[in-house]
């Protein structure tokens, strides 16, 4: 098999995951948090596809799984953006720091 092996894909996946987690934890805008969540999810999908390609390329259920995951990601985005819109309508900003009613 030509091209890069399994490890570079996993490294990129891990890097994406790290970037996404850092974004989730550090971003103030809910939109950016949502986008970071998406990066994390895509890191997972990338890892999944990499494993499929290099471990069991003869079967395609992993591909189907990846497509299902991407679909769920799209749905999750729609729901997340819906929440975000509500948040914005309620308080005129999407800064996650302003939404702290759950403080115990």
């Amino acid at each position: 098999m030509n091209g890069p092996g399994l490890v570079p894909y996993l490294a990129v996946g891990a890097a994406l995951f790290g970037i996404g987690v850092a974004g989730i934890l550090s971003q103030r805008s809910a939109l950016m948090v949502l986008m970071s969540v998406e990066v994390v999810m895509n890191a997972a999908v990338l890892t999944l596809v990499a494993f499929w390609r290099f471990v069991r390329p003869d079967r395609f259920d992993a591909q189907v799984f990846a497509i299902v995951a991407i679909t769920i990601g799209a749905v999750e985005m729609a729901a997340g953006l819906g929440l975000l819109l509500l948040l914005f309508r309620q308080r005129g900003s999407v800064n996650v720091d302003s939404a702290r009613e759950l403080k115990g």
């Binding site: 989730i24 934890l25 948090v33 996650v96 403080k103 115990g104």
Partner: protein, 643 residues
């Protein structure tokens, strides 16, 4: 030649990506020059395909099981002609935008979207397989959304963009289902392997998809609203991209559509009639042009639906030339008088002689007057219609009389009518250059129809030319009659060039027949569903909560009563117990109470500390979640190691 084929769509796409990533200063030049490069490559490909070559590039995309999907770019003659058209019109529109967009602070965004628009349209015309075609199709739709909604500060832009996107989406769904069926049936997505005929419902699905993109009945509502975008967007969207994509798709699949072709022809006729009638009563220049586009695309559909791809394609080329000219002239007028309503215009022929000259040329072409030695593109459509059905032919003639009338009306209202010219400057700078280029291209292009391109094009596309002198004569008479009517009406009712009774038609004509009812029904259904859900929620959950509270209250009452009994029993046990009780109470106070309050104090301190974790901050909760997952991973790893 294959490299050139790749470069055609790649250049504008790369330019778009570069601008999107952050290039600001040179955005306008980069996009213009890259599209000019595409034009060069497209011309090279056209020359090659005239020699009989068919450059083709294929790239495997993904393989699932036994099936594999390959993306193909393939320049057959039809595609090569369309690619040249798209890139040529695009270059001129970009050139025009150099000065038109100069005052706009968000110009880089505009150029990124426009380059993407042109690039995806080039992929669309050059696509050699269904998947690439569909991807480009969707990209064109997304770009139109971005560009129609470009003027965010205008409150109408957002809804117009959403409307365009959603309405075309209905057709996209039909198209996707049709394509998937085709791929499932033939096992390949390559267009050359489709076979001779497709299932009937797939043919109808393709026509439906094309109708939504081309704003044909019953999907026409989005097009006039889309005029809130900047004028170069309208010029590109109306001539070479977006709406032309529908006509192109129809031409591309014409050979296999079979039973759906008459439907396409009649849909086209209905739209042509409706569009020209609406253009006769509209009060806004750009919206008038939008209705005109609708009706001209309708004519293309009549041509293709009557079996003549050549007629449709020639009209597509001619229309692209004169409609983008008209839009660019409209942009110059808009800049000159500060708006697009007819009420601001009039008598501009003296103020803007240059714009007037170019518009005159384009309007005559729109009306179907042969302004050069060559024939007007519409004649071929009429000839094809005559071949298909006499009724279609005569109705199409009627529609072309209407076309000539609204063309005359535009000329009259904007340039000719006797009115104190407002202080308007003529087009300047790059706007002038682009208009001039169109002014030169227009006669060449229309001349080309008869002499230079017409017959070679028919050879290229492999379609037969069904030109007939009778329909040419009739078309001429129609155009002359329309113009005469328009000028006569203009003299009599000079204000709006409509007789008062006709003005009453404005509302019904601009209303969106059909579709709006469907939308309303869907929206009402959704509302009803939501109301039902709310009722359900109230009945079950809220009522359940109330019932629970009631139960708790009655339980508490019962408990109080039991306690009262116990109380009285204790009183009855009386003084004998008093001493014991005192002793017990001392023990209670000194030992039990002290320990209990100590425990409570500890608990309080603990919960104070625990409370600090419930910060209400989203990122803290996410941190717990991530930490939990990591801990689970570490535990899992340990478990694996220990095994």
């Amino acid at each position: 030649m294959n490299a050139a084929l790749c470069l055609v769509p790649l250049l504008p796409l790369v330019a778009s990506a570069t601008i999107a990533v952050g290039l600001r200063r040179g955005a306008r030049w980069l996009s213009t020059v890259s599209l000019a490069g595409s034009l060069g490559c497209a011309i090279a490909i056209l020359v090659a395909s005239a020699r009989g070559e068919t450059p083709e590039v294929a790239a495997p995309w993904l393989a699932v099981g036994r099936r594999s999907l390959t993306l193909v770019l393939r320049a057959d003659p039809l595609a090569a002609v369309a690619a040249v058209l798209v890139s040529a019109v695009g270059v001129l529109v970009f050139l025009y935008a150099l000065d038109y967009m100069r005052p706009d602070a968000r110009a880089p965004r505009f150029y990124a979207a426009m380059s993407l628009f042109a690039g995806s349209m080039l992929v669309l015309v050059l696509a050699g397989d269904l998947i690439a075609l569909f991807i480009a199709w969707e990209l064109v739709g997304a770009c139109s959304y971005l560009l129609i909604g470009f003027r965010l500060e205008d409150g109408r832009a957002g809804p117009a963009a959403t409307k365009a996107f959603l309405v075309t989406r209905i057709g996209d769904l039909a198209l996707l289902l049709g394509f998937l069926t085709l791929i499932a049936r033939t096992g390949t997505s390559h267009m050359a392997d489709l076979g001779s005929a497709v299932p009937t419902w797939v043919a109808f699905a393709i026509v439906l998809g094309a109708a939504a993109k081309s704003a044909q009945l019953p999907f026409q509502g989005w097009l006039p609203d889309a005029m809130v975008g900047p004028t170069p967007v309208s010029a590109l969207l109306h001539s070479a991209t977006m709406v032309a994509a529908g006509a192109f798709l129809l031409a591309r699949f014409q050979a296999v559509l079979g039973p759906a072709l008459p439907l396409a022809a009649w849909l086209g006729l209905a739209t042509a009639m409706l569009g020209s009638a609406a253009a006769l009563v509209e009060e806004d220049l750009k919206r008038t042009l939008a209705y005109s586009t609708m009706s001209q695309i309708g004519f293309m559909w009549i041509g293709i639906g009557s079996g003549s791809v050549l007629a449709g394609m020639v009209l597509l080329i001619g229309h692209a030339l004169y409609k983008s000219t008209l839009f660019l002239a409209a942009g110059a007028v808009e800049r000159g008088v500060g708006g697009t309503e007819f009420s601001r215009m009039g008598g501009l022929a003296r103020r803007m002689p240059f714009t007037f000259a170019v518009s005159l040329l384009a309007t005559l072409a729109l009306a179907g007057v042969p302004i050069t030695l060559a024939l007007s593109p519409k004649d071929r459509v009429l000839a094809a219609a005559r071949h298909a059905s006499p009724l279609l032919f005569w109705l199409a003639i009627a529609a072309s009389v209407l076309t000539a009338m609204y063309a005359g009306r535009i000329l009259w209202l904007v340039f000719l009518r006797d009115r104190e010219p407002s202080s308007a400057d003529d087009a300047r700078g790059s706007m002038r250059v682009a208009l001039l280029a169109f002014g030169i291209l227009l006669p060449i292009g229309l001349l080309a129809d008869g002499r230079i391109v017409g017959s070679p094009l028919s050879k290229l596309i492999g379609a037969t030319d069904s030109e007939q002198p009778v329909s040419t004569a009739v078309a001429l008479v129609a155009a002359a009659a329309g113009f005469a009517l328009a000028i006569a009406a203009g003299r009599r009712w000079s204000a709006y060039l409509i007789w008062p009774g006709f003005a009453r038609l404005r509302r019904p004509l601009s209303a969106e027949l059909g579709l709006v009812v469907v939308y309303r029904t869907i929206a009402r259904g959704a509302e009803k569903l939501a109301a039902l859900a709310a009722t359900f929620d109230r009945r079950t959950f809220d009522a359940g909560g109330a019932r629970l509270a009631h139960a708790v209250a009655s339980f508490t009452r019962a408990a109080t009563r039991i306690e009262g009994w116990l109380d009285s029993a204790a009183t009855a046990a009386g003084p004998g117990m008093l001493r014991t009780a005192r002793r017990a109470s001392r023990i209670d106070r000194d030992w039990l109470e002290a320990s209990i309050s100590q425990a409570a104090r500890l608990l309080l301190a603990g919960s104070e500390r625990a409370r600090s974790t419930e910060s209400g901050r989203i990122e803290n909760y996410l941190l717990y979640a991530i930490g939990g997952v990591l801990a689970a991973c570490v535990a899992g790893a340990f478990a694996l190691l220990l095994r």
